[in-house]
């Protein structure tokens, strides 16, 4: 129950932040990505502001085992920089550059009843499942390859 309340508040604050910063608008994000055009550096200020608050919060979280709702704090394990990370970032960046939309703004724009957002989110969902299927396929094949 408490965990749900924090999740709701985090969703609201995230969405309001995306609105106020202008990042809900693909046109604003594309203005940042267009460095050789009429460049709009706003997105850098969004990241700066967000990191200024989140950095001390994560420093605090690292020293605690449980969150305020009693659930464990789950921080990703330290892993090396590998090919899936790099390749995934290239694929992600290509879609982001084509549309000016990433997952947070895509979801928040559903709240504007935008047809563009609906198309994007449906396709993004297919992309998530496609990755899951590919991963399951690779995992299923690996033992066979080792046997051979």
């Amino acid at each position: 129950m408490v965990r749900n309340a924090f999740a709701l508040a985090a969703g609201l604050a995230f969405g309001l932040g995306l609105c106020l910063s202008g990042m809900y608008g693909p046109q604003k994000v594309l203005g940042f990505l267009d460095i050789t055009g009429a460049w709009d550096p706003s997105l850098a200020f969004v990241m700066g502001g967000a990191i200024a608050v989140a950095l001390p919060a994560f420093a605090l979280a690292r020293r605690q085992r449980l969150s305020w709702s009693g659930e464990p704090i789950e921080l990703p394990p330290t892993r090396p920089i590998d090919w899936p990370l790099a390749l995934g970032a290239v694929v992600f960046g290509a879609g982001w550059g084509l549309s000016g939309v990433c997952p947070g703004p895509g979801l928040v724009d559903l709240g504007f009843l935008s047809a563009g957002a609906a198309i994007f989110v449906v396709a993004m969902t297919v992309g998530v499942f496609a990755h899951g299927a590919l991963e399951a396929g690779l995992r299923g094949r690996r033992p066979i390859a080792q046997d051979a």
Binding site: V2, F6, A7, A9, A10, G11, L12, A13, F14, G15, L16, G17, L18, L20, S21, G22, M23, Y24, G25, P26, Q27, L33, D40, L43, F45, M47, G49, I51, A52, A54, A57, F58, L60, A61, S69, I73, P76, L85, A86, L87, A89, V91, F92, G93, G97, L98, S99, G100, V101, P103, L107, D109, F112, I119, F120, A123, M124, G127, V128, H131
Partner: protein
């Protein structure tokens, strides 16, 4: 105040960033989870029984309704054809999963955790985004 999607908006964007950072702080300290939109959404569609993810999504989608009461807020403008959006959505969904994160997961939370992986991912997807926008806006059209 009318939100400006055309010009450089340092104050509004920095303030919005502080809110996004606050959201990340609330979720990690309150619920113990990383505020990565792609990861949270993927968890929701792959394991729909986890109620807290639905609460997060409800807050996110309700935010524009609340924002309309506070600011005059222009509609988001999606560029290109529906086909472009379809391809972009596929790439973003697949790429965020393969690369373990998106703009919020790597770019906000990962950089705040001082994660070298997130710094690498953020640099790569930003560079790719710059290149694709350069190609689409200045080479093709």
């Amino acid at each position: 105040m009318t939100l400006d999607l055309v010009h450089f908006t340092p104050v509004a964007s920095l303030s919005g960033g502080l809110l996004i950072g606050g959201a990340a702080a609330l979720l990690i300290l309150g619920s113990g989870r990383i505020l990565g939109a792609a990861g949270l959404y993927a968890g929701l569609v792959l394991a729909p029984a986890q109620m807290w993810r639905w609460f997060w999504l409800a807050g996110l989608v309700a935010a524009p309704l609340l924002a309309r009461l506070i600011w005059t807020i222009p509609a988001p403008l999606f560029p290109g054809s529906p086909i472009t959006l379809l391809v972009a959505g596929l790439l973003v969904g697949f790429g965020a999963r393969l690369g373990s994160g998106c703009t919020s997961g790597h770019g906000v939370c990962g950089l705040s955790r001082l994660s070298p992986r997130s710094l690498a991912a953020t640099s790569i997807f930003m560079a790719t985004g710059f290149l694709v926008v350069f190609a689409v806006r200045h080479l093709v059209s």
